[in-house]
Symmetry: C2
Amino acid sequence: MTTYKDAGVDIDAGEEAVDRIGETVRETFTPGVLADIGAFGSFFEPDLEDVDQPVLVSSIDGVGTKLKVASRAGRYDTVGQDLVNHCVNDIAVCGAEPLYFLDYYGVGTLDPNTAEAVVEGFATACKENECALVGGEIAEMPDVYGEGDFDLVGSIVGIVDKPDILQGDDVQPSDVLLGLPSTGIHTNGYTLARTVLFEEYSVDDCPPELGGESIGEAMLRVHRSYLRPIQALIESGLVKGLAHVTGGGLPGNLQRVVPDRCQTNIDYEAWERPPLFSLIQSLGDVPETDMRRTFNLGIGLVAIVRPDDTGRARERLEALGEMPVRIGRVHSRDDESGTAQ
Amino acid sequence: MTTYKDAGVDIDAGEEAVDRIGETVRETFTPGVLADIGAFGSFFEPDLEDVDQPVLVSSIDGVGTKLKVASRAGRYDTVGQDLVNHCVNDIAVCGAEPLYFLDYYGVGTLDPNTAEAVVEGFATACKENECALVGGEIAEMPDVYGEGDFDLVGSIVGIVDKPDILQGDDVQPSDVLLGLPSTGIHTNGYTLARTVLFEEYSVDDCPPELGGESIGEAMLRVHRSYLRPIQALIESGLVKGLAHVTGGGLPGNLQRVVPDRCQTNIDYEAWERPPLFSLIQSLGDVPETDMRRTFNLGIGLVAIVRPDDTGRARERLEALGEMPVRIGRVHSRDDESGTAQ
């Protein structure tokens, strides 16, 4: 097994594809990347000038079975973006600035074009988030992955000044929940979504409910990055807590950022549920409770703000082209009006 | 899909196994781990008191098809150690001190006992290397991984003071190559090793060449960590470059740490080749060149030292219980005696 190392990407594949991938990767490099040194690891020198107590924030994740949708649709340039954006959101909601990302691509037999599309996806999202793609590994394991199957894993490293860590300590009853729209299913709930949708449709089918979009297109919509709105809210000092809506849905993820004495009450009528979710619910006869605990249902990020700050937070977000929705409030756990949903 | 979060480990599994795994993980925590904060990421505060120009060093990797040997032998507590130690070595040879590790465990259907053994392996090696296991993800994907199949991915973050980055710049002709024994195949060459050995033997067979050890035991020997000898050599100022012998074997990895004007000449007779490698070679009729470019052949780490420092470096290593072997020299690329091997 020969390993090629180029711009931090180790690939057991042809050299030509490796060269192209190396170029794509280098385009993501930020000033902190020490590109020309280090034979066995990836080097990054963080700018600590304005950071008194640097804390590193990391996360590792996959995209789950959204990969199967990509395989079915033969479209491989989006799943890398999903993974980067998912990881970026996970650390950004804690107040961290993403620094760099590393990817792992496990596959049965490597198809260089697919690999290029996957890495292109990583690089596109890394550039958008100004997060350098400093390293990666492509592992060909025909005995582990079946024909056409693969897995993607991403690991992100970010930095936050310790006093700036945002974790919802100050959240209190009467605070307002401002939701930002998701682009689709993002990366959670694909086992349920696939089971229901592929029982009825192929990836190319365009059910009228989706207004012209195919099942594949709707299911592969890229998990968006909320980095810009998150940073704007944090800089303005208008946010007390932020929840990235992943596995567990709105209730599960909001509970992770409010103090134990609080609960959240979500008004699920406050926004229009995107048609893909309604289609899944009606086709699969999925109970509303399962929908709420499985999917983001159209809200991918929630900011918790003081009631008095709601207007300013909204304006700040709208100035970035965002469309915030007031989706509920924080209640005391003892307060009967605040039934956890 | 419900996600449980405990001590930084997200697991889509039963709560009981999660509790036990959480306990194991917490035992790896070092003072830098900020365990009680952060809902969506893992927090680590590095001690920067003696670091003027902090550079973060990262790596992401898998263990390749050593996983298949683990499955075949039904033994899951070693592969996690392989992965941690591999990652630790990769960043330590550049002069970095490992800070923390994150793992990803992709599997078809989760067996809690297997998961516990795997995470136990990660935790054991993390403790040995004083590298905190701060996060992880276990993803169950029955559509991606077949019955009994799984993949493991590890990501490590370490730190080095910029002037202390070790990359072999000063290596020059006549420098000496000191090798440290490997424990076995480590994590490279398993496709070849499995093809050859499993054609003839089952995991429980004990061919006389292995002196009582079974094929499974010999193949699953843990990829050792070289952190202590590496740190001792670096602290003593006696080492100019270090190579971790992974894919590419001795010649491939040494070439990564010597300047372009240099090459290395390895005396393959200088140490006794462990019997497992000879068995693979004779059974599979594998050409010597392929053996050298695929396997570590018994030497898992190489330190490059000045000729005058060889004795002291050797003593320093022997004081730690290591058994260094002089395996060759550095030559000028123009020097005919230094044929790259």
